[in-house]
Amino acid sequence: MDAILEVRSLTKRFHGVVAIDNVTFTLERNKILGLIGPNGAGKTTLVSLVSGTLEPTNGSVLFEGALIHQLPAYRRGLLGIARTFQVMRPFPGLTVVDNVAVGALFGAANGSHKLSGAQEEAHRWLKFVGLDHRAAQRADALGGPDRKRLELAKALAMRPKLLLLDEVMAGLNHVEIEEVISIIKKVRDQGISIVVIEHVMKAIQSLSDQLLVLHHGEKIAEGKPEDVLSKDEVITAYLGRKRS
């Protein structure tokens, strides 16, 4: 088993509130892990702990076998971890292509360090997510679905080994969701390991090799999608009552 990401007994406390409680899991290389759970379960917090936006209270995170939970966020980016934000974080004053170019300039270990090269790469990633026609527009002029595409392109431009996607499908219609699913599969086919936080159940089911269910910061289920989704605890967590 080639684990690209290992999370061991990870705990995060905020002023007495336990956001993540003793979570342990492993992600194998080139697989897709779906991270689900009701709102407020701690999914984004978990991703932030892996990406370095937050520091854990207890526990450890290993990336490709090395401990990373003490490293600052930018170092983890250099190692090959990229993430999108649920509340989107563009660089508002920059154009769409420049937004993505930042990722190409800094994230890729073997990427271009020259501006022109980075912008060329940015265009390629924009084409990949279907946003190249808006390359010259300001990032803050984009609408919701396009912003999600931009988030994705920025992360991809970093040529990550591990991609953490936080609700990239929220607010999209069926057609757009299908597009995103196929993009994610293409990314996986390029050898990238992915963690996907999602509420769109059909998408999660079709994408994930493994599912991890969080509730109140605790892992309550883990395994193959069809097994996990039929478990009582999972259904109760979402619906609040047993299915008869």
């Binding site: 930018y74 980016g77 930042v102």
Partner: protein, 316 residues
């Protein structure tokens, strides 16, 4: 206008300006030196305030350290001016690294206040140092003729502006802009935000220090309150913002425009330069808060409504 063309034009202007001491009046040359030094300060602020988005209210420290570097080297140790400049730059950059590290962790107005506090502390410390002449200050050796200082200031402004131009097209600059636009996102996208912020701070400190050194030698006198003049901070910020923060030529234009306006108004009613400067600041912040560049861009569409729109957007 392409950048290459703009730079060529700028080079032409620099060449023309360099001839001013030979045909301009002494008053004009003196005005020029002051304006050039202020422009350099505004441009150096542009690096940390305009491009990186950290509005430092303490760049006067670097200016003062530059001045005192020159003064101490020349007066206490009888070293040449160039060595004094190096000393000043060294002190300023050291300060930027040592104190930049803790202070650049602060955001927004807390950063502004911290830098203002640092400026006050330095003023107070220096006024207690024997080697700096305490409160009385130091008197520097006299170098006759303004021409040398004019050319030096012009050269300094040119170098500073070229540096800013390089920043705007470089990977380093992109990192700074990313930090300005969204620091958390920049960190996640593998920008070493701490290092970049400190480098930007150090870079602007060096230019401000040289400006301070040239100015001290020119007026041959230095004391804590004039070297670390707190009002300089706001002047350079206003000039950079008025001209257009985060642009290559904005701060230069802003500095010259504001200096010229103050000078012209002052010459009509003698010695009232200060009050007009204050009034101009108030008017500029109310009517054109995004600077001159923005005004020019939107004036074509909106005409006089531009000013109205700005007020409507910002008032209650």
């Amino acid at each position: 206008m392409k950048l290459g063309l703009k730079l060529a034009l700028a080079a032409l202007v620099v060449g023309l300006l360099a001839t001013v001491p030979w045909w301009g009046s002494p008053v004009m040359v003196q005005f020029g030196i002051n304006a050039l030094i202020l422009a350099t300060l505004a441009q150096s602020w542009n690096i940390i305030g305009g491009y990186t988005g950290y509005p430092s209210f303490g760049n006067s420290v670097f200016y003062g350290l530059g001045g005192y570097g020159v003064a101490i080297a020349m007066v206490q140790f009888h070293l040449p001016f160039a060595v004094g400049l190096l000393l000043g730059v060294f002190l300023a950059v050291l300060f930027a690294f040592l104190l930049g590290l803790p202070v650049l962790r602060l955001r927004g107005h807390y950063f502004a206040i911290a830098t203002l506090g640092l400026a006050e502390v330095m003023t107070a410390i220096v006024s207690n140092l024997e080697i700096a002449g305490r409160n009385v200050g130091l008197i520097l050796p006299l170098l006759k003729g303004d021409t040398v200082f004019f050319e030096l200031s012009l050269a300094l402004l040119a170098v500073t502006t070229i540096t800013v131009a390089w920043i705007s097209r470089s990977r380093f600059g992109f990192g700074l802009i990313a930090i300005r636009e969204n620091e958390e996102a920049a960190a996640v996208m593998a920008v070493n935000t701490t290092l970049y912020k400190i480098l930007a701070f150090a870079l602007c400190s060096a230019f401000a220090a040289i400006a301070g050194g040239i100015h001290a030698y020119w007026i041959t006198y230095l004391d804590p309150s004039s070297a670390f003049d707190i009002t300089l901070n706001v002047k350079m910020i206003i000039m950079a913002v008025f001209g257009g923060a985060g642009t290559i030529f904005g701060p230069v234009l802003g500095a010259f425009a504001l200096s010229a306006i103050s000078e012209i108004l002052a010459s009509k009613v003698t010695s009232l330069a200060s009050i007009f400067f204050g009034l101009v600041i108030v008017a500029a912040v109310v009517f054109m808060p995004r600077g001159f560049a923005d005004l020019v861009r939107r004036f074509r569409q909106q005409r006089w409504r531009y000013f109205q729109e700005n007020i409507k957007a910002h008032r209650v």
